[in-house]
Symmetry: C2
């Protein structure tokens, strides 16, 4: 038997555990892999000694041979001020339970995802990649990422909804927004609102485009006029200024749909503190996301909610299905939204 070190420093290795337990190194490996055949009492003894020696199989070595790193790459423009931070938070917890870890990367805040960053991430060889950033073409992603199949979080445009696109290059979580928006418009209509403004998110983002078009569709279906569009970029500050412009320069509105909750906060603060308008008496406001701050008293925002738990479960499901069948064609999951009624509509 080979002479293993007393591990005076550095991690204990499988060879050391094997020596201590009077078994082969292979047996140690098997003890840590559930679906291998090893006499139960033997496995028990090995695990006990491993615990005693503070031994865990080296993930780098394991990755080298198995091809699995158990890392899930996530690319975000901003960890703080976004719906995505909630999702990262919940995803990290869920993935931890499945034996994965979150590998975080930051791209520029203009939602552009450069190839350099993708290549950088690829170097870490994640098992899966979740693209929160939309402004990258699936083909670019697939070309740079040779192994992991990326998961797109997508907001289908009206008409695309049921279409099976079956793209084998990536998997997809579709978030439909019709239901939530329709509930919001119905509520507004009940208060007699007719003139609606849409406070945009970033121009090129599909989340934004989808929300705007779906809103148009819902308004049209109910015989209401098309929305006025105010420019924005999902940020508080831009929304604040855009709202001021909408009322000082533009035509104003009876209700504002903001592309996200942060934008809605900006709109609310502009209406109340700058334009001296009352919400909801003078203007009504609806957001998207339902982040933690939305229930705070200063805002108390009525908003279109994504079910976070459901969403996280769907993503984890996509990851596990993909890893179980690496060559399967593009997988899809679809979720719906609903309205959370608070104080900014009436």
């Amino acid at each position: 038997m080979k002479e293993a070190q007393q591990h005076p420093q550095g991690r204990a290795t499988a060879a050391l555990v094997a020596e201590r337990a009077n078994v082969s190194r292979v047996a140690v490996s098997r003890a840590f892999n559930p679906h291998t055949s090893l006499k139960p009492e033997k496995r028990e003894r090995i695990l006990a000694i491993a615990r005693e020696l503070n031994y865990t199989p080296d993930r780098a070595a394991r990755a080298l041979v198995s091809g699995r790193t158990h890392l899930v790459g996530m690319i975000v423009p901003d960890v703080c001020s976004n719906w995505e931070s909630q999702e990262i938070d919940a995803l990290t917890t869920a993935l931890q339970a499945e034996g994965f870890a979150t590998l975080l990367f930051k791209t520029r805040t203009d939602y552009s995802m450069d190839e350099q960053l993708l290549a950088y991430m690829r170097g870490f060889n994640p098992d899966s990649v979740i693209a929160f950033v939309e402004n990258v073409r699936p083909k670019t992603l697939a070309r740079v990422l040779d192994r992991a199949v990326p998961i797109y979080i997508d907001y289908p445009l009206p008409g695309e909804a049921g279409a099976a696109r079956g793209d084998p290059l990536h998997d997809r979580l579709n978030v439909l927004q019709y239901t939530g928006i329709d509930q919001a418009v119905a509520l507004l209509e009940g208060y007699g609102v007719r003139r609606v403004a849409y406070l945009s998110g970033s121009h090129k983002s599909r989340a934004n485009t989808s929300r705007e078009r779906t809103l148009r569709q819902v308004l049209a279906a109910r015989g209401l006029p098309a929305p006025v569009i105010a420019p924005g970029d999902f940020s508080y500050d831009t929304a604040y200024q855009a709202t001021i412009d909408l009322f000082r320069v533009g035509p104003g509105a009876e209700a504002i749909f903001a592309a996200n909750d942060f934008g809605a906060f900006g709109a609310l603060d502009a209406l109340r503190h700058e334009l001296r308008l009352r919400v909801p008496e003078d203007v009504r406001v609806v957001g998207f996301d339902d982040i933690a701050q939305s229930h705070w008293k200063s805002y108390n925002l009525t908003t279109v909610k994504f079910d976070l738990d459901e969403r996280v479960r769907a993503i984890v499901r996509l990851i596990l299905r993909r890893l179980a069948a690496p060559d399967a064609p593009g997988l899809e999951e679809t979720l719906d939204t609903r309205l959370v009624v608070r104080g900014t509509v009436g």
Copy 2:
């Protein structure tokens, strides 16, 4: 020369690049490691072919032999609602530039860090670990993490400040709070404030303890009475309720120090929307952190600011110094704070 595959699928390997470039595999390795001797034109040619084949050295293999994973583990209780999310955000960007990636782990929100999670993280073998969670003893951390030397972000208590503790088990970033708190109290004193309340963070957290004790020290130094303590846990909701109790049941106060900005928001909303008090006319409020939301019009919070850039640079410096000298005794960096004046004091 060994027959390398055409890489019909899967990553390109160093052997393939070597074959294509008519060099040895070792030369390819050297081409990617800057401080090795290789004829420049040769390195150029190898890198060109590597780029063409979309080749990057496998980090798992590299980690196996070099012992460096280029991963930095971060443990947080909450990614969304915290000062930490800002720090994670900025740290991730800075670390990316140095060739590292952020490995994110979530612990329970009660700030307790179980050994199981530490062992789980250890399996990924990060080069460095940043402990945002305070409720774990350095010895526990050092015992579970055999390789990485953890970095503690610490808020020294009054009196501990200059003391070189020289603990070799971990490195430390000290954040002093005297200056910022002193500036805040001086400002309040200028408005004639004498009765100050401190709205706590989580009881066991050193950030909280340090803020409370430093506030006591500053008040005493200026001949003002000791603060009334209202219980809290760094969250909006708890702060909201605690503020109501402070005024309905307790003695009230002329000014409130909240242990963090989120708590300050809760206090502000409780004062204005529940207690119908005016800020800053009736009660003045000061927070800690200066997060992004603190400048929003609804809050416009006067707060003790941590310089994020400076802080991130200090942490990166600690990481690099530690990796350059793995056996050095405990490293330390020390930073100060300052007050950001906005609208909640006067």
